[in-house]
């Protein structure tokens, strides 16, 4: 999985740190275990050595483990803070989002994501955003808890009813990124997927404009049919 946003870059680095730290622990513990089991198998007449029960040994082991935990904590703190930073919109990004991020509302509902753009256009399932532009998603939910997760673009966050959560990303490349809701939400949870299409700022502008007029046209048509009495 390749990161495509400054935040996920940091997460990716932290993933490698965590992977190395976990591997060190696993290899050290299991290595010592296998060594002990192979080397100290009891044979006829062999006597166990006296237990070395020194307070010093315990303190040393405790100190080493504390140092390990402390280093991990500091590294994790640094990269988490870096991942939380809101990046600025780049030079090829959407001009309107230069000073502050492009705000889009993402609403989780069983079992579909709805996206509301600043110009009152909306879309279901597919989110269209401009490339190289800082996008802030406001995550809300209308029913149960959902988790918005497009791992290449951002860390996952929960959409909890009654609360607003935030996801910030800046996609660095035009393309399509897949995501899936990551909190069990009932019957069709597995099918609750989403897709982020990263396009040029011009294409984004065209998309939201057209989406808005299409929605308006569809609405007018339905209202017209109702007025004509063709829809009961």
């Amino acid at each position: 999985m390749t990161p495509h946003s400054p935040g996920t870059d940091q997460i990716d680095t932290l993933l490698w740190i965590g992977f190395v730290a976990a591997t060190v622990l696993i290899v050290a513990i299991n290595g010592a275990l296998v060594y002990a089991l192979r080397r100290y198998r009891g044979e006829r007449g062999s006597q166990p050595q006296d237990t070395v029960d020194g307070r010093r040994t315990q303190l040393r082991a405790g100190a080493a483990l504390s140092a390990f935990a402390a280093v991990l904590f500091v590294l994790s703190l640094i990269y988490t803070e870096k991942a939380r930073e809101t990046p600025a919109t780049g030079s090829t990004g959407l001009a309107a989002a230069k000073s502050e991020p492009l705000k889009i509302e993402a609403t989780g509902q069983q079992w579909l994501w709805r996206y509301d753009y600043p110009n009152e256009a909306f879309s279901y399932y597919k989110l269209v955003v401009p490339v190289d532009t800082t996008v802030e998603l406001d995550l809300v939910s209308t029913d149960v808890i959902h988790t918005w997760d497009v791992p290449e673009l951002a860390g996952k966050r929960d959409a909890v009813p009654g609360k607003t959560n935030h996801v910030v990303f800046r996609a660095d490349e035009v393309g399509t990124y897949d995501g899936q809701s990551a909190t069990f939400s009932g019957q069709a949870y597995a099918a609750m997927r989403t897709e982020v299409e990263v396009v040029s700022p011009q294409a984004y502008e065209r998309f939201v404009k057209r989406q808005k007029s299409d929605i308006q046209a569809a609405q007018d048509r339905v209202v017209g049919l109702i007025e004509k009495g063709e829809v009961p």
Binding site: I11, L15, L25, Y40, D50, V52, R193
Partner: protein, 564 residues
């Protein structure tokens, strides 16, 4: 008359109202003896392990190939909900508590428990919970997942009775665990043999005390949450409902406090048992005894305080996330010290490679893999990547299969002679162990890859082709079957050895704690005489004293006969 024996000796004392012997199963079912209660609890827990396996295998079959239609989404979700409740509430916790309840009183030289009726009620509340959970099949089992997060578990989203059955079942079981814990706490405080100071308590008895206090802390939290959920669902409550003053995150906090504490309880119990087994089979005392006991207590406190580790993607302040990270990463120290001392005990010992040690070593290995991976989930930014992926499934299963299954089986093989008077077959145990080890690796290592590399989500009834996780899932399904076969072999071994195992003496392994002073299985009153405890290794003292008394005076005492 010579040569003719009377069939029955004539009664010498006629006692009025002496209870007539009832069938054996009634004796056990109505017994408040801690050994009968503990035995039923252990047996029931192993039975529910089998049911949990069936549910796990059904889910893994569904997830063997992409976009499978073997199970409907609803059936899958029911299996998921049942599996979670069965594995945690009906298998792992009662197995730990059952072992504690049987053995801790013996280890401290008590003739029974302080509040036997409480423990008995505890057992039957747990059984009642199990009956309620599975009677859900008569109508509809819960579809709300392993942890039924509100508002999904609210009436508006799951209007059938499944969640109510889940809540009633886990509530009954949790209440039972709390009652057993009260009895254990009281017993360990009040019923210790003369000289059995806290500092001389076996590590497993310490683990019993720590886990009981932990259950007293977390059990009521879960009971409160369950009560609130039932009020929400049945009496128009608004505890977890958004928009009327309720808070959906409240359920998450309360339930995760319980589940995180239970996770720690299971690991503390397993490590406590392993800390009994390793010294016996290494033929030397535990290294850093005080450190191990202190670390187990620290795990209970720090580990439970890390509950927000499960909520790092929720809308809560970053400060609380760092608090959870501090607590989770701080756990590296006590867990590390326990594992360090267990392995340090082996190094320099003379290891007898019997089944209990084999399973104990497997448990240490699996727990280390699980906890090291879990560590990554507590690093805040990493949780934003790994949370609710199959990486979490794998980490949790490595830790809990390591603790409850490998650790539980180590304890089972070790104490089986005490419980039944017979030993479990060694060959079958070895085959079972290696099958389980292979199965665990095959079942869960691919899930690590699918979760970290491709972000496959947990709890989903299907995954899609073209997402790069098809091979991982197929291997995982095969591994789950291998693991289940291995577990089944041990369950079969335990059943068959009940009548067919080699007879065991009272001190089968040469252990140092007092349960080996009682007969196998122990008499209802546990001990004919209570020993005067002078050290943390009372059974060794007894052996030495017997050897000293029975030694021929002309023979020079060798080193095993000198009393420390």
């Amino acid at each position: 008359m010579i040569g003719e024996r009377p069939r029955r000796a004539p009664a010498e004392i006629v006692a009025d109202g002496y209870p007539r012997r009832r069938p054996r199963w009634i004796e056990i079912a109505t017994s408040a003896d801690h050994k009968d209660v503990g035995r039923v609890m252990i047996g029931a827990a192993l039975g529910f392990l089998f049911l949990a396996l069936v549910e796990l295998l059904l889910m893994r079959l569904q997830l063997a190939v992409p976009e499978n239609t073997l199970l409907t989404p609803v059936t899958f979700n029911r299996m998921l909900s049942l599996y979670g409740a069965t594995a945690i509430f009906l298998f792992a916790i009662p197995l730990a508590l059952g072992l504690f309840y049987y053995l801790a009183p013996l280890q401290i030289g008590a003739r029974g428990t302080a509040l036997p009726r409480l423990g008995q009620i505890g057992l039957w509340l747990y059984i009642a919970g199990a009956v309620v959970l599975y009677s859900g099949f008569l109508f509809t089992p819960s579809e709300a997942g392993v942890n039924p997060l509100a508002p999904l578990s609210e009436l508006a989203f799951l209007p059938n009775n499944g969640v109510d059955a889940w809540a009633a079942a886990t509530g009954l079981a949790t209440l039972g665990f709390v009652l057993v814990a009260i009895d254990l706490v009281t017993t360990l405080r009040r019923m210790r043999a003369p000289g059995m100071a806290w500092r001389r308590l076996p590590v497993f008895a310490w683990a019993a005390a720590i886990c009981s206090w932990l259950m007293l802390a977390i059990g009521p939290v879960m009971l409160a949450a369950i009560t609130m959920l039932l009020i929400d669902r049945n009496f128009d409550g608004i505890f977890f409902a958004d928009g009327s003053g309720g808070a959906p995150l409240l359920w998450e906090h309360l339930s995760w406090i319980f589940f995180t504490g239970a996770y720690m309880l299971i690991l503390i119990a397993a490590l406590g048992a392993i800390a009994e087994i390793v010294p016996v089979f290494a033929r030397r005392p535990l290294a850093g005894r005080g450190t191990v006991i202190g670390s187990l207590a620290a795990i209970a406190v720090i580990g439970t305080l890390a509950w927000i580790q499960n909520m790092l993607t929720a809308p809560i302040a970053i400060g609380w996330m760092y608090f959870a990270m501090i607590m989770s990463l701080a756990l590296i120290v006590p867990f590390g010290l326990v594992l360090f001392n267990l392995i340090a005990t082996m190094i320099g010992g003379t290891l007898q490679m019997r089944a209990p040690l084999l399973f104990a070593a497997g448990a240490i290995s699996a727990i280390s893999i699980g906890l090291a991976s879990e560590m990554n989930h507590s690093m805040v930014a990493l949780a934003w990547r790994l949370h609710n992926t199959t990486d979490a499934t794998a980490a949790t299963h490595f830790a809990l299969v390591g603790g409850a299954v490998f650790g539980g089986f180590a304890a089972l093989h070790y104490w089986y002679p005490k419980l039944t008077g017979r030993t479990m077959g060694e060959t079958l145990a070895t085959i079972s162990f290696w099958t389980m080890a292979l199965g665990t690796l095959l079942a869960f290592v691919p899930l690590f890859l699918a979760g970290t590399e491709h972000g496959q989500v947990v709890d989903a009834y299907k995954f899609f082709s073209g997402t790069g996780v098809s091979a991982d899932n197929l291997i995982s399904t095969i591994g789950a079957f291998v693991l289940a076969a291995g577990i089944l072999l041990t369950i079969v071994n335990a059943i068959v050895s009940r009548t067919g195992g080699a007879r065991a003496g009272h001190d089968q392994w040469g252990g140092d704690s007092l349960e080996w002073f009682a007969l196998s299985p122990p008499e209802p009153h546990n001990f004919d005489v209570l020993p005067d405890v002078r050290s943390s290794r009372p059974m060794r003292d007894i052996r030495d004293a017997i050897a000293h008394r029975t030694a021929r005076p002309e023979r020079a005492p060798d080193e095993t006969q000198t009393v420390a």
